[in-house]
């Protein structure tokens, strides 16, 4: 992770997932499906530049299993904390 760049935090609820595969289809670098077809988040803290693609995955998920929010600025903490 490059220090200081804004990141997103992406979570997927596998208990909700119905294996539609929309996320893995539009953003394979971020989402995958396990052998049972359930969502696996490959990159939980993607670059904020992926925001619109991630939003699309959130929108398309038929069971609202994906959530995305700005990540906590962990790098800033390191900077200030020395």
């Amino acid at each position: 992770m490059v220090s200081g760049e804004p990141r997103l935090a992406v979570r997927a609820d596998r208990t909700r997932c119905c294996g539609s595969g929309n996320c893995a289809s539009i953003l394979p670098e971020m989402f995958d499906q396990d052998d049972e077809g359930l969502v696996v988040v490959r990159e939980p803290y993607p670059d904020a530049g992926l925001r619109s693609a991630v939003d699309q995955a959130v929108l398309l998920c038929p069971v609202q299993a994906i959530e995305a929010s700005p990540a906590e600025p962990v790098d800033a903490r390191f900077r200030f904390g020395g």
């Binding site: 119905c18 294996g19 539609s20 595969g21 929309n22 893995a24 289809s25 539009i26 394979p28 995958d32 499906q33 396990d34 052998d35 049972e36 077809g37 359930l38 699309q56 929108l59 398309l60 038929p62 069971v63 609202q64």
Partner: protein, 403 residues
């Protein structure tokens, strides 16, 4: 004022029924009258359609009182009981958690990656179909040589169904979606399917291979996670849901692309644009023209309307897919629209399990057909295209082409 009758008559194969469009223009939620004079809510707005389909307080169980039945012949529980065996409920008509448990035994077969590995097989079957087109014409009917056999051959491979059985199960799946079928006819059709699948599954139990049904027989059925009745229902669902739907969508796609030379030539010169074009064609044609039916199990407010527990709801996905609030200039086919948020595969827990496969079939069929027959056109003369307005799934009966 009396309520409009539903389903509504389609006059333009490239548009939604005029009356439905008028209803949708009045607001996202309205009421319609069904064949038996019962009434149901109809949802035509995109946002509201998603809200209903994602809300588990709306049940997909046809046996529940209040479920809106669209054809005289189709009264769920009585019909299923009469048909027996594979005539029972499929997960399409189940609610969570039973639905989710069953679906999870199948999702692994339909992941995006797994379906991608089937692409060479789909390409091979498409090539064989196009060989048949070449041999038969011109002129040649593209529905019976390509649109119907391709999804059916792919399903045979996936499920482990002998290709020789195709005419039999194709006939039965067509009979199942006939809008005019009486209850007696539907029971006969379901019994026929049930007997056929019983025999098929028994064969898999004796001599398992590597196909989906064999894997289910050796895994979840053997260890008790899937009942034999659920296996039979699942076999029926996969065989019928994966067949007529893809065939109809491919038929309409071919008719549409041949109608507009620019589109045909564009996709021929830019095959990388085909996946986006497929999404737009899925939106534009929304083959599930009868809509998706549900019954409320609690009082739910949708767009300021209170839908009471026990009331039927029909989600018109074809109207929702033309909602101007979700799709700009929705009546125009724009192959580069890039909108994938259409509801053609449904929404919520029941969203199409085979959508990745449907996409691959459509993409491959378009690409291979244009490549093989760049000058393909609708044959000259009257009656070369006959649309199917007499089915629960919108489609095409005949499309005669020349090259």
């Amino acid at each position: 004022m009396s309520l409009p009758a539903y389903p509504m008559q389609r006059s333009d194969p490239y548009g939604i029924p005029r009356q439905l469009a008028e209803l949708a223009a009045r607001g996202p939620v309205d009421r319609v009258r069904l064949w038996d004079d019962s009434t149901a809510w109809i949802v035509t707005g995109w946002r509201e359609a998603r809200a209903v389909l994602a809300d588990n307080r709306f049940s997909a169980d046809v046996g529940r009182p209040g479920y809106p039945h669209l054809r005289p012949g189709f009264r769920g529980s009585r019909l299923a009981a009469a048909a027996g065996g594979a005539g029972g409920a499929t997960m399409l008509r189940m609610d969570p958690p039973a639905h989710d448990e069953l679906r999870r035994l199948l999702t692994g077969f339909f992941t995006v990656r797994r379906i991608a590995t089937l692409r060479p097989m789909v390409e091979e079957r498409a090539a064989a179909c196009l060989d048949a087109v070449q041999a038969a014409g011109p002129p040649c009917d593209l529905i019976s040589t390509l649109a119907v056999p391709l999804p059916s051959l792919v399903l045979c491979e996936l499920l482990g169904v002998p290709v020789a059985d195709r005419p039999h199960f194709e006939e039965l799946s067509v009979a199942l979606i006939d809008s005019a079928a009486t209850q007696r006819q539907l029971i006969g059709t379901l019994r026929g399917l049930s007997d056929y699948l019983e025999e098929l599954v028994t064969g898999k139990e004796k001599n398992p291979e590597t196909d989906l049904l064999s894997v289910l027989v050796q895994g979840p059925v053997r260890d008790g996670r899937m009942s034999r009745a659920d296996l039979l229902g699942t076999a029926r669902l996969l065989l019928t849901a994966g067949h007529e739907t893809s065939a109809s969508m491919l038929s309409l796609t071919l008719a549409t692309l041949l109608r507009d030379r620019t589109a045909w030539d564009f996709l021929g010169s830019a095959p990388e644009a085909i996946p986006a074009a497929v999404e737009e064609l899925l939106r534009f044609h929304t083959i599930a023209s009868a809509g998706l039916s549900r019954v409320a199990t609690a009082d739910v407010t949708v767009a300021d309307q209170i839908i009471r527990a026990g009331e039927g709801v029909i989600v018109s996905v074809e109207a929702a897919n033309r909602d101007p609030a979700a799709f700009e200039d929705p009546d125009r086919l724009r192959l580069d629209r890039g909108a994938r948020h259409h509801l053609s595969f449904g929404y919520g827990v029941h969203q199409c399990l085979g959508q990745a496969l449907a996409r691959v079939e459509l993409q491959v069929a378009i690409e291979r057909t244009i490549r093989r027959f760049p000058t393909l056109r609708v044959a000259e003369g009257e009656g070369r295209i006959e649309f199917a307005h007499d089915r629960m799934i919108h489609g095409v009966h005949r499309l005669e082409v020349a090259w």
